[in-house]
């Protein structure tokens, strides 16, 4: 195991531990903060897999914007700060069964098919701003435009939803 692999295993362990706390901790606000840790560790994994631009996009959008948005939503829905009673025992058992089954199917499929493969990090074209930008605006420009329309629709939808029913009475 070389240095890159060791760093990846450590970052992966941090991501998995933080992810476990996200789905199990009884304090709701702590779950959002552990989500930030988990997403930051995944950004480190992207960096080790030569996806430089994506690592910074992950830090900006996920750790920066999405976690703050989630925290705002928790505050605005008056989530209790202290520990809350968890899910009922039966539901946890069912959820754990389904989750373990999903994990086993994924692990067996991926490791049986691709377990012995090796990523040659020396041969990879590093995904910095120039490489990803030219790929995005040359080969993938049509999906990019479609996505901009989707973002516009989401923006309009969020405005319509959050405007509330205040002016329905005036109409």
């Amino acid at each position: 195991m070389n240095g890159v692999e060791l760093a990846f295993v450590l970052l992966g362990a941090v991501a998995l531990g933080a992810g476990f706390l996200v789905v199990t901790t009884s304090r709701i606000v702590h779950a959002a903060l552990w989500l930030a840790v988990c997403l930051g560790a995944i950004a480190g994994c992207f960096l080790l897999l030569t996806a430089e631009l994506l690592a910074w996009v992950q830090v900006l959008i996920y750790v920066g914007a999405v976690v703050v948005l989630v925290l705002f939503a928790l505050m605005l829905t008056r989530a209790p700060i202290g520990p809350t009673p968890g899910a009922s025992r039966g539901r946890v058992v069912v959820a754990a069964t389904v989750a373990v089954a999903t994990g086993v199917v994924l692990l067996v499929t991926l490791l049986a098919g691709l377990g012995g493969e090796v990523i040659d990090l020396e041969a990879v074209d590093v995904g910095g701003g120039e490489a990803v930008g030219s790929a995005l605006f040359r080969a993938w420009v049509l999906p990019f435009e479609a996505l901009s329309v989707l973002l516009l629709a989401a923006l309009v939808g969020a405005i319509v939803l959050s405007r509330g029913r205040g002016d329905e009475d005036g109409r």
């Binding site: 989500l35 989750a99 999906p143 989401a154 969020a158 939803l161």
Partner: protein
């Protein structure tokens, strides 16, 4: 680097997200678990991009698209959760069988009958 490491991390992260979606009751926490699953998929895409040494960077560009769609999804989802909270006074998914406002009166008795809803008064405070 062996391809198995990112694959194992992403598979375990995905199953953690599945557990969170099924076990959590707060709508915001369910959205957070969906984010975990999306990140597992992103990690897979980036790993396969590097493994294939893709000249077009298909995996990384698709990851960029997934991140954008996830941001839009979280924005809209949280707007809906806030709206439902404003109308119903709760964001607990066990009480929210329907999004329709007119079903509010039909929905209320069922919420009161739930014996295991302990944080209901706290959420409505």
């Amino acid at each position: 680097m062996r391809l198995a490491f990112p694959l194992v991390v992403s598979a375990l992260l995905f199953s953690l997200g599945v557990f969170g979606v099924l076990a959590r009751r707060n709508a915001v926490l369910v959205l957070m678990s969906v984010e975990l699953m999306l990140n597992a998929v992103n990690l897979n895409l980036v790993a396969f991009d590097a493994w294939w040494a893709d000249a077009l960077h298909g995996g990384q560009v698709l990851t960029l698209f997934v991140i954008t769609i996830a941001a839009a999804e979280v924005g809209l989802g949280l707007a809906i959760v806030l709206l439902v909270f404003r109308n119903r006074g709760t964001s607990d998914l066990t009480d929210l069988g329907l999004l329709d406002e007119r079903a509010e009166n039909v929905d209320q008795p069922a919420a009161v009958d739930q014996p295991d809803v302990v944080d209901q008064p706290e959420a409505a405070r």
